[in-house]
Symmetry: C2
Subunit: 309 residues, 2 copies
DNA sequence: TTGTAGGCGTTATCAG
DNA sequence: CTGATAACGCCTACAA
């Protein structure tokens, strides 16, 4: 492997000078620069990034903790992060947890070992306190609301989105709604919020009308079976468009009640259900910007309700 | 920052011994190991991965060159790669090119600078020769067929899939088919193959029935408008399910002809068009395995035709 | 402008 | 089993 030292020998200049042309520093005579570049080309010299990383103490690489890699919502979010990262010459490493605490902890340990210059957390498996303990090792940015001061986060205005969804239901005279959620309210703040607002806005809402652990189309089908056994249900809030599609399938013969979902994928357009676009790409972009600028703000991302009925 | 040397000082042992317990080497007395671990915990010592990377000459990180991050086909492929990488403790960095040659070259340069232990190329912007020039810097694995011996690749049996699609058309008496493709046949081997086989299998096929540069639902709608002006067209081969959906939209009032698409997404089930599942996840998994095992085989991934009509 | 020398933190070799 | 010591390849004061 050709090193900076060999270039120094062949050219007769010092390693410092070589390093300077490598880093586009000023204060190198045009003549020397030219010769050095020439010798570099001749020997096919490649600066070793691993060495550069150690020397600089950074790798221009950020980690992104996500629950699932094949989930439309998080895919959009990571796409937003990656788009910005690309602009600024950063590399992105996706860190899927499947909401496994141990796996997430392993990533946090890597982070503390300087594997990433920063860590964006789109959704967490461990309690906030556990994660914040790693703040001392470098910048941590969240893609959900975190109340603690000085903790940067870009977050979706879930409350506003839910309020709009529920008022849509009310406008259509749907007061008994079924809800599908991902993780149960015990561990997911987002589910917690959903149910809290449902109870506030819809006095007739019952917790027995909640189907938990829905992440796929199949889960949606199962949920539909359950909902059909509750004839009073006249509206459904789904936690994703693929699940909503499954619900419609599950109703098969029967006409399903009014459905509102939350991904705004193409399929919603064809199956004619309403959807909330939470703009996860924007959230990802903002999260990266917060990292890049080293700010500790909290940035809210507005949602958009797509009514179809 | 606490280093291995500080641990050595506080414990009175040598850095070698510290390094040994760090790497779970044998030949360290239980007593010393215990004391070292204790001091490490006290000082909250973190091994620095950047230093380890330099010392080992590797980073357990692989790069994956993809054209787009938000394309279902390549998302599935990268999911397959990531699943395997995760199992073996590798990190994955996604490298989107948008088929820009310069961007792709920049990634190859990074690779030659040891930024990645290996590079998986799911689809390339530059000519094969250009890319193979970087083989000397480390393992290069392709996710498409590469004829050159000793170049490892996991590839989809595109020919077989296309043959089945065309015989499906013939079975349904569709001999005048329209085709949408991504990149034009001049630059995409896959498009080239598609058109070649179309000409072989369907004597009535005309190149004027090809719509190029289709990547989105909107492109599909546009294509549909064009196809409707050619009343003789009685079958359509789409290059993706979202495009197929767009085509169906584009036909709006009119009933669209028999459609076969190529992603097998959920939407195909609802819009009732046939689709070829090329199993891109499997392709990604195999590609990673080829990297991991350092083999130079060529692995074919079988497809599956999902008939709906 | 340029060069010298030390440092980044860890691993590996090789004696003992 | 253990410990010096030399890599790994680059960057950067500091001095000239």
């Amino acid at each position: 492997m050709v090193t900076i030292r060999e270039i120094a020998q062949k050219t007769g200049y010092s390693t410092s000078t070589i390093s300077r042309v490598l880093n586009h520093h000023p204060y190198v005579s045009a003549e020397k620069r030219a010769k050095i570049l020439q010798v570099m080309a001749e020997l096919d010299y490649r600066p070793n990034q691993l060495a550069q990383n150690l020397s600089r103490g950074a790798s221009r690489n950020i980690g992104v903790i996500i629950p699932y890699v094949d989930n439309p919502f998080f895919e959009k979010m990571t796409n937003g992060i990656m788009a910005r990262a690309f602009e600024f010459g950063y590399k992105v490493t996706l860190l899927p947890t499947n909401y496994n605490k141990q796996v997430e902890l392993a990533y946090l340990e890597e982070f503390s070992a300087k594997a990433y210059d920063g860590l964006i957390i789109t959704s967490k498996a461990n309690p906030l306190k556990t994660i914040l303990a790693y703040e001392k090792y470098g910048p941590l940015i969240f893609c959900e609301y975190v109340a603690e001061a000085n903790v940067p986060c870009a977050y979706l205005d879930r409350s506003a989105a839910l309020l709009q969804a529920f008022s849509y239901f009310k406008d259509h005279h749907c007061h008994q709604i079924g809800i599908t959620v991902g993780r149960s309210e015990q561990i997911s703040p987002s589910t917690q919020l959903t149910l809290k607002i449902a109870q506030q806005e819809l006095p007739h809402f019952k917790l027995t009308h909640v189907v938990r652990d829905c992440t796929t189309e199949q889960d949606g089908q199962q949920a539909a079976k359950y909902f059909q056994q509750q004839p009073e249900i006249n509206g459904i809030l789904a936690n994703g468009d693929e699940i909503a599609a499954g619900i419609i399938e599950g109703y098969s013969a029967k006409k399903p009640p009014l459905i509102v979902s939350q991904d705004n994928l193409l399929i919603g357009k064809f199956l004619h259900f309403s959807s909330i676009d939470q703009h996860p790409e924007q959230c990802g972009q903002q999260a990266f910007d917060l990292f890049k600028q080293g700010r500790q703000n909290k940035v809210m991302i507005p949602h958009k309700f797509i009514a179809r009925s």
